[in-house]
């Protein structure tokens, strides 16, 4: 008994010693902020609650080696490259670092001088009602040329709320639609490291662009947000990368990968590592870019307490942020659309001489098809309407093929049908299209950027091509375009018109306007509808499940349509997912049999004939519409999944949708959810 008391006292003393480094630097109505000027860590205490947030590992528990110990217990870590090309890490808590801190009202100005390494990095911490905000970047860095060291990456509070175990805590990863990873020991051996908005083709070597044959590429990060829920409905935080997102990577380490901690962090890229090729065989050396990127880091850390500590509140908070900054506004029109039909007009097949034009659907046939679908609210997305059919058309799509429709007929059709989109792609250029040789983007090794047999155009060229064609489309009374590829990729160009990733983002986000295929967040403001939205994560083994984070953000703002469901192997399951996520179904439709597409680049469309899909389209529509018509144009305010597999999505009009994927009917309170089905309930009934 005595021993135990002594032990408790010792622990308390230790805690006091540890605490003593932390000084109170600021307080507002919600939080009190303590700061350790040695490690640059913050500790934040909730004023009207018992939550305490740790921005790093405050005590050495003997699990980690020196480098990781320093990394985990510092508010700032710098990764740098030595003159002889060795990658090293140095953290603020290291002995070679001298730190100056200035307190100015609600702001901390910090400068960390790494004497041995010959550089210094500054940062500003701004305290606000929600938490705090970190600012740093190129302007905060000074490097001396004596040592030959180059700063590569920056980390701020990488072990924010890192933990070895937790009852129901998890990490939110913005992988695809969003996913959560449990805090605790995992069987995974590799961490999650992904660039926000996907690879930068300009610095990634071309080989790594094409994931292996037969692999569906991993989902990309569409939104620069991550978070940790230390304890569900109790404590957590989320982080929004407000600036510098195009130079950010997100790292998530499951417990057991290098350290026993589960943690997630952003890594800000100051200089890019890339492979420099020496010969055709692919011999390459790993080098870094000379000049630092024009990087400004501005990242908000938002603290989450009580019922806000879960992923759906994170999404709601991020949605508020996007709205406040005019990055997201309501695009739901009065004309309902709960289904998307992708209609293929034609494709071409190369022959020994010339090519075959393979007509799949003419406008006349399309009209007949729509005639058979009366009563349904849908949009139509036409592709392959060009003279060269589908795959060989882009990046020039006009004129419209005479076989598809006569000019007069086409104009009339477009005038009377406002729910019709025409698919365009100004980012990819078909290899057989001549005249674009000089417009292809180049990577840093001055190689043309290609992917799967397509050449990738410079973002500036893409914007110009669109501008040129826009008028011609308008002459045909076509107002709605759907942009494939353009919204999904973001890359720098080292060719004739050098563009950084940041500049490319600027150009893309200010030039295009219409529907996009699975676009990154910076395009949402100019986006009228989203096609092929991710409804899943990449399925890493450390991911517990995927969550509809993207869908919560977009709900009530931009209508989202799924990938074409023609090729899914379990349609029932897929439709349930759409109901749960609030996404509308899509189908590819042709008049002719897809057999005609054999040995064309569109061979992947292996099933699309309208006559055999008509009933499925209608029944799928009915199934999804029955639920989603109740919440058309409404935002999701919360989303939960229960132990028995039932999901519960609550909308702003107080309608709740329960979905049950299981093969047995389940009960939630007094509400019974049928097997492989859903229930729509008004809030009052629960």
């Amino acid at each position: 008994m005595n021993r135990r008391i002594i032990f408790v006292i010792i622990v308390f003393l230790c805690a006091c010693i540890a605490l003593s480094n932390f000084e109170k630097v600021y307080e507002n109505d919600n939080y009190t902020y303590f700061f350790d000027s040695h490690s640059l860590l913050l500790r934040i205490e909730q004023k009207n609650g018992d939550n305490v947030w740790h921005t790093g590992i405050e005590q050495d528990d003997g699990f980690l080696n020196d480098e990781w110990q320093a990394f985990s217990s510092s508010g700032m870590t710098v990764e740098y490259m030595t003159g002889d090309m060795q990658s090293k890490k140095v953290s603020a808590s290291s002995d070679t670092c001298s730190i100056t801190v200035q307190v100015k009202g609600n702001m901390l100005q910090i400068n960390a001088q790494f004497r041995e390494q010959g550089f210094s990095v500054g940062m500003e911490i701004l305290f606000n009602e929600q938490g705090f905000e970190v600012t740093s970047g190129k302007n905060f860095i000074s490097e001396s040329s004596d040592t030959g060291n180059r700063i590569m990456n920056l980390y701020f509070f990488p072990f924010f709320e890192a933990a070895i175990k937790s009852d129901n805590g998890y990490v939110f990863i913005p992988d695809g639609s969003g996913s959560i990873m449990k805090i605790g020991k995992s069987n995974a051996k590799k961490p999650y490291i992904q660039r926000v908005y996907g690879y930068d083709y300009g610095t990634a070597d071309t080989a790594s662009l094409s994931t292996g044959y037969g692999i569906n590429p991993a989902k990309k990060i569409k939104i620069p947000v991550y978070g940790v829920v230390s304890q569900e409905d109790k404590k957590g935080f989320m982080s929004i990368v407000k600036q510098g997102d195009e130079y950010t990577e997100i790292l998530a380490y499951p417990g057991g990968v290098i350290t026993p901690y589960t943690w997630i962090s952003a890594r800000y890229i100051v200089r890019q590592m890339y492979k420099k090729f020496l010969d055709k065989k692919g011999t390459a050396v790993l080098v870094s870019t000379q000049e630092p990127y024009d990087l400004t880091v501005k990242t908000g850390f938002i603290l989450l307490c009580s019922q806000d500590a879960n992923y759906s509140s994170m999404a709601v908070k991020y949605r508020e942020y996007l709205e406040e900054n005019n990055m997201l506004s309501e695009k739901f029109s009065s004309e309902k659309a709960l289904l998307r039909l992708d209609v293929m007009a034609a494709e071409t097949r190369n022959r020994v001489i010339g090519k075959d034009y393979i007509q799949m659907t003419s406008l006349k046939e399309l009209k007949e098809i729509t005639g058979m679908l009366n009563g349904l609210d849908y949009i139509i997305n036409i592709f392959g309407y060009s003279k060269d059919g589908y795959s060989q058309s882009f990046p020039v799509h006009l004129p419209v093929s005479q076989s598809f429709a006569g000019l007069k007929e086409l104009k009339e059709f477009n005038l009377s049908n406002k729910n019709v989109f025409y698919m365009v792609d100004y980012t990819l250029a078909n290899k057989e299209k001549t005249g674009f040789g000089a417009d292809v983007a180049q990577n840093i090794s001055k190689q043309f950027i290609t992917s799967w047999g397509y050449r990738i155009l410079s973002p500036e060229v893409s914007a110009n091509l669109y501008k040129n064609e826009q008028k011609k489309f308008e002459e045909l009374n076509i107002t709605n375009l759907s942009f494939r590829t353009t919204g999904e990729v973001l890359y720098s160009d080292y060719g004739k018109r050098p563009l950084s990733r940041g500049q490319a983002k600027q150009i893309i986000s200010s030039s295009f306007n219409g529907a996009f295929y699975n676009p990154n967040v910076y395009l949402w403001k100019s986006c009228s509808a989203i096609f092929d939205i991710d409804t899943d994560s990449s399925g890493y083994i450390f991911e517990k499940r995927s969550v509809p984070f993207l869908q919560i953000l977009l709900s009530g703002k931009i209508p989202c349509f799924s990938k074409p469901l023609n090729f899914t192997s379990d349609l029932g399951n897929e439709l349930l997912k759409l109901v749960e996520f609030g996404v509308y179904p899509s189908f590819i439709i042709t008049q002719e049999s897809s057999l005609k597409l054999l040995e064309t680049p569109s061979q992947w469309i292996s099933s699309s004939e309208f006559s055999s899909w008509q009933d499925t389209v209608r029944s799928s529509y009915d199934f999804v519409n029955e639920a989603l018509k109740e919440v058309y144009g409404c935002g999701i305010i919360s989303h939960e999944i229960f132990e028995n597999g039932i999901s519960k999505t609550r909308y702003s009009n107080d309608v709740v949708i329960f979905v049950n994927y299981g093969t047995q009917s389940m009960e939630y309170g007094s509400i019974e959810v049928p097997a492989r089905g859903y229930r729509v309930v008004k809030d009052g009934e629960i």
Binding site: N216, A218, V352, F567, S594, P601, Q603
Partner: protein
Amino acid sequence: MKIKPLTLLVILLFFAVSYADVPYKTYTMGPNGFIVETRNAFVPEKVFFPSVMNAEDIFVDKDGSIYVADTGNMRVLKIKSDMSEEVFSDYMFFMPTGIFVTDELVYVADSGSFSVCVFNKSGELLKELGRPSQPLFGSKNQFIPLKVAVDARNNIYIISEGSTDGIVCLNSDGEFMNYLGANRPDVSLKMLLQRIIFTGAKGQFLKLRPPSPTNIAIDADGIIYTCTYGLETNSIKKFNIAGVNIFENRIFGDPDIVDIGLDDLNNVYAVDSNGFIVVSNSLGDLLFIFGNKDSLAERKGLLTNPSALEVAGDGRVYVLDKEKNSITVFKPTDFADLVFRADNMYIQGLYLQGKDEWQKVQTLNSSFLLSYKALAKAYFKEGMYGQSLEYFRLSQDKGEYSESFWQIRNEWLQKNLSVIFIGFVAVFILYKLLRFIDRKKNIFSSLKLFFVKLSRVKLINDLLFLKYMLFHPIDGYYEIRRKNRISLVSATVLYIYLFFLELFKIFFTGFIFSSVSVYRVNLFEVAAGIYLPVAVLLLSNYLISEINSGEGRLRDIYTAGAYALAPYIVFEPFLIIISNVLTYNEAFLYTFPQYVVIGWTLILLFLMVKQIHNYTVGEAVKNILLTLFMVFIIIIIVFIIFVLFTQEAEFLQSIFREVILRE
């Protein structure tokens, strides 16, 4: 066929729809020999990590319990269906690498202790089977059991490491019976040459040893299947009772194969070290390829180093990964179930009963090859020969196509025979009549005059000389050589004609006799395929003749060369046309004349060399052999120059880049 990621004949696109959210794509065989993408057949249901290390084998018994030969931990682990783990037996294993479970017994191949141990279900050791003592086993053969399988009569089949004689078969008492299913040694030209050149110790290394099988599976009827790592073809074998491989040249092979498993319908599942799982039906037709290697990230359903595969009774596929120490469970989708159902009908020959199912498959994937084969057979049975003809064409089944075509032709002939006969008679009478009138009244004189005039045009006249060449080659060559009978222009016209003839052949030869897919024709390749050999041959012949007192000038060789092809030039078009109305039953009507034409052409070529250069027969033979040798030399020289130049270019390029890099 070999599955190698890079040689996969798939049209892959940057934007192609990923068929749902699994990390791998699923493929099947499509028409015209293309591998095409299809909807998912199997999806990863779960991945779990039992406490095993470098485990080499698993077995899923009827109750859903999983037995793992936990090689690294020297034990056998039993994972019950509620996921609880228990050590199966307290027996001290050395290196358990194979496991097989029957209703009552558990067989473990322990390669460390050179024995197969037999346990009852509660883990008590009943028997330990060591190296067979029977002389038949072979005095030098080692007994290192790696894998084990047991049939319904408790005969034991063992794969022993390095056993080139095949599988060791023991009866239920553990007595050696015989060897089964040895692989054949793979003899390549290179090895043959090496064996001729090397002698003594080096030669010993090259002794031909067939690879020993890697893994074994057994179906409910006791039919043995083996797979062999490293075999390019026939890597999966299915032995009938006589020990004959009935998958010979039928099944989609895979050299990196690691293990095979069978489901209740005897579909064969093979997993390879690249993480691909290949599913074939019991006849060896490819159904699906799915899965992939886990190279960049650990995603559910990708494999790092698979060591064993097992198909459970409910159709789920269990794959053991010895590097990740994980078991991945793949669940068949509705689509796979549909295909299996349809395929089962097809295999039993119930073509009509399976028709609806196959039509469903086809609606879901219009490029599923097997659906065309199966539906074609159904249509054939129904007498819808037109439809079956089209489908057999798509499935590239020439034999069956020929059958359908025979039926169609037969019907057509029966319907139209009288018309054809009357037509022939009418034409004959008309011809006789016109001739009769012409003789009396000379009505065609102007036409005849026109033809005479036409034949006086030099080019036409030259071309008509082909007819003369056919039957009077010696005189013909005399005229060409001595009298400059043929102009360069007409020879050139013939060479150009050759190109068009080849195109005609590619596009218009009947399907049964054609070997080229029209989709893959490249004009440049066709031209190169004709003109390069012709040019090299003519040039070589000229060079050789120059130093061998040949009298022919280059011009003569050029012109005579064209005319030597006269039989081919004249008769081939007719053969191509005829090939469109023939079936395999009358194939000799196409192939025999083909040989005649080729033989005839060869004779003309020989005579050409003899006559143009004014050689004796012996000299001509010598000249031809030297010419061929010359061709060989030219090819080698071109090849060397090509290699040197590319290396030079690469060398310069690397210097250039290095200079830039060091700027």
